[in-house]
């Protein structure tokens, strides 16, 4: 097996775990159950999760085809340890085989009963969703494997497809109305991999497991993407070369009319790749250029070539010069206020790739494929940009970055205070409501630099916290005369005694820093705590490799260090007040 084979990675990890070479702390626990034998999924899912950066995990398989029981009593299936996630895969033919066959041949009564059964299964899932706090991943039912559901049947073509489409529709509508459920599209996977290639009749009749190893590998990979998106931060920016990457040929040598881009091969592969990059940008991924070229030459293609899909407006940073790509990548990360580990780098030159890999190993690199027809789909299925849900801030981020560039231009040549005054900052601090939770969760899991405690939480955990009395989740949005920043700060504050409140989490997106936002946010939280009857605030700084920026935050905001615990304490009245150039408001729930 290849060293990067998920199955091999899992086997090696399991051995270490058994020999206690890996710590038992911080393990992610996931329970797996299905209407068929799920054991073959374990090594593939496990290996893929480890590859995606989950540090340690335990996968438990529940009893086969007992999904109802499991929904009402997950502990009986998976044991008492709290689970971070449950994955349920199921097929209609396992659940209601007889009704399915009857419905196929037009028995209306049977079809009715079949849908009632599905509804009953769904209300069991609804029950599980209410009682379980972790991530819940439920499959769509794959196209039935029964012989009567022959896709190539001549007598009644598409009857099976139509019935299955109705089932799919009813099922996904139902899951969406329950809410907070991640869907793994087993039907889509089957379509992607091919029905005939995915089934192994021998394994079904021998072991009650229907699929080939190759298909299990795909199921594992796809499931790992959904789980990992909750725990591993997504890439934020894609940096690409120009020559032989977004167009064919070399602009400096071939000139504007000589480069390949357009309707015909190979220009159409580059054009489709640009379309994919634009699609990523619309999802909030930033685009940047690192090219060894004269900048004028690159700009000229963007401005004058009529087959270009991307325009200069889409590009957040252009590094076009003759210095090293490593330098370009560092400049891009600095200009965008993001870590190098948030970058994906694409280049057609293996030497550039290996230099970046050697000197900036945290950057994820891709070499333009030798077979240029594979270029447009190169990043598809990698899961690098997966987030648990695309938020409005993601979509607007690229625009917000452009506003940031304008701010930088205005700030040149002014005193800092004049500049800040000229921004006309408006900050609103308020308690997070359900509609804010997706973005709040994203900030909690992505913010590395200005993050006092770096405690990661899933949306489900967060929602469970909010429902507890004495725990308040604050967030803030911010706006200036150049545009909106969106939600940029999160604080979780808990009442720990009659007088004292503890700041469990305090973080701020880097693009909002340095303008008094963090001071305003903390000041308003102190006001809120005072309003709720608290007298003192206690906070903590937990150092990580990346959060040195936040080290002196409490010291500089009127807090005193308590020697015994190393924590910081301030009375609500002595917390530093916001600067007068910021217009700050506070809104509480009641």
């Amino acid at each position: 097996m290849h060293p990067s084979d998920p199955k091999l990675i899992w086997i090696q990890y399991s051995e270490k775990l058994k020999k206690k070479q890996t710590s038992g702390n911080d393990l992610i626990r996931v329970g797996l159950a299905g209407s068929f034998t799920m054991d073959p999924l374990v090594p593939y899912l496990g290996g893929c999760l480890l590859k995606r950066g989950i540090p340690g995990l335990v996968l438990s398989v529940g009893p086969f085809n007992q999904l109802y029981q499991l929904c009402f009593d997950p502990a009986a299936a998976f044991g008492k340890d709290a689970l971070h996630g449950i994955v349920l895969l199921w097929r209609v033919e396992d659940l209601v085989p007889v009704l399915l066959e009857k419905a196929l041949v037009g028995d209306v009564q049977a079809a009715e009963s079949l849908f009632e059964e599905l509804d009953r299964f769904q209300s069991a899932i609804h029950n599980l969703r209410k009682s379980f706090e972790g991530t819940l991943i439920i499959s769509t039912p794959p196209y039935p494997s029964l012989p009567s559901f022959d896709i190539l049947e001549m007598d009644q073509p598409v009857a099976g497809m139509m019935l299955h489409n109705n089932i799919l529709r009813r099922w996904t509508d139902g899951l969406n109305s329950i809410g907070r459920i991640k869907i793994i599209d087993m039907n889509g996977l089957l379509l992607q991999e091919g029905f005939a290639c995915s089934h192994d009749a021998r394994k079904w009749y021998l072991y009650k497991q229907p699929y080939t190893e190759a298909f299990w590998a795909k199921v594992g990979e796809q499931t790992s993407r959904i789980i990992a998106a909750e725990f591993v931060s997504a890439k934020k920016c894609i940096v690409f070369d120009c020559d032989n990457t977004i167009w064919g040929g070399i602009i400096g040598e071939d000139g504007l009319s000589g480069i390949e881009l357009g309707e015909d091969f190979p220009g159409n592969t580059f054009r489709d790749f640009q379309k994919y990059l634009l699609y990523l940008r619309n999802r909030g991924i930033l685009l940047a250029i690192a090219s060894r070229n004269n900048k004028e030459d690159v700009v000229e293609v963007f401005e004058k070539h009529d087959a270009m899909i991307l325009s200069l407006d889409h590009i957040s940073v252009i590094e076009a010069h003759w210095n090293s790509k490593v330098e370009s990548l560092k400049n891009i990360a600095a200009a965008l206020n993001i870590g190098a580990d948030s970058l994906v780098f694409i280049d057609d030159n293996p030497k550039e790739i290996s230099e970046v890999q050697a000197r900036l190993p945290e950057v994820t690199c891709f070499l333009v494929p030798e077979e240029i027809a594979f270029l447009p789909n190169m990043l598809r299925g990698t899961g690098l940009f997966d987030t648990t849900g695309i938020t409005d801030e993601d979509r607007a981020r690229a625009e917000m970055m452009k506003a940031e560039q304008k701010r930088k231009e205005v700030s040149a040549g002014q005193s800092e205070e004049d500049f800040l005054r000229s921004l006309e900052l408006v900050i609103n601090v308020f308690e997070a409501e359900p509609i804010h939770m997706a973005r709040v969760t994203q900030l909690i899991n992505k913010t590395n630099q200005f993050n006092l405690t770096t405690i990661r939480r899933t949306q489900d955990e967060l929602e469970a916290m909010v429902s507890i009395d004495h725990t308040h989740v604050f967030t803030m949005d911010m706006e200036d005369r150049f545009g909106k920043y969106g939600l940029v700060g999160v604080a979780i504050v808990k009442k720990t005694s009659e007088e004292e409140w503890f700041i469990d989490t305090f973080l701020m997106s880097c693009r909002a820093l340095g303008r008094g936002a963090e001071t305003s946010f903390l000041a308003k939280i102190a006001s809120a705590v005072k309003y709720y009857g608290g007298k003192t605030l206690r906070g903590e700084y937990r150092p990580t490799k990346k959060n040195a920026l936040a080290k002196d935050f409490y010291r500089n905001h009127g807090f005193d260090r308590e020697d015994a615990s190393g924590q910081w304490i301030a009375s609500v009245d002595s917390v530093k007040k916001p600067s007068d150039y910021v217009n700050v408001s506070l809104k509480l729930v009641d």
Partner: protein, 77 residues
């Protein structure tokens, strides 16, 4: 170098390779239950690049029988 087939059985069933011989069977190895058998079939097919029929799978009641089946399929073991 130890026997490839013993190695495979030892890895899949998580038992010490030195305890295995051609007479080893579900009766002598606790972990060789139906789930173990399922993992063994997947591992054997992956390792030796063969496909086993259900009849062959049902006859693999000892490591020796597994060896015989693989030899018949042209695997040098």
């Amino acid at each position: 170098m130890s026997d490839r087939l013993f190695q495979l059985f030892s890895e899949v069933l998580e038992v010490d390779v030195s305890t295995l011989n051609d007479e080893s069977s579900p009766d002598t190895i606790e972990q060789w239950d139906s789930l173990g058998a399922m993992h063994l079939v997947a591992a054997i097919e992956g390792e030796f690049g063969v496909q086993l029929s259900t009849k062959e799978i049902m006859k693999m009641t000892t490591i020796g029988f597994a060896r015989e089946t693989l030899r018949k399929k042209g695997v040098d073991i």
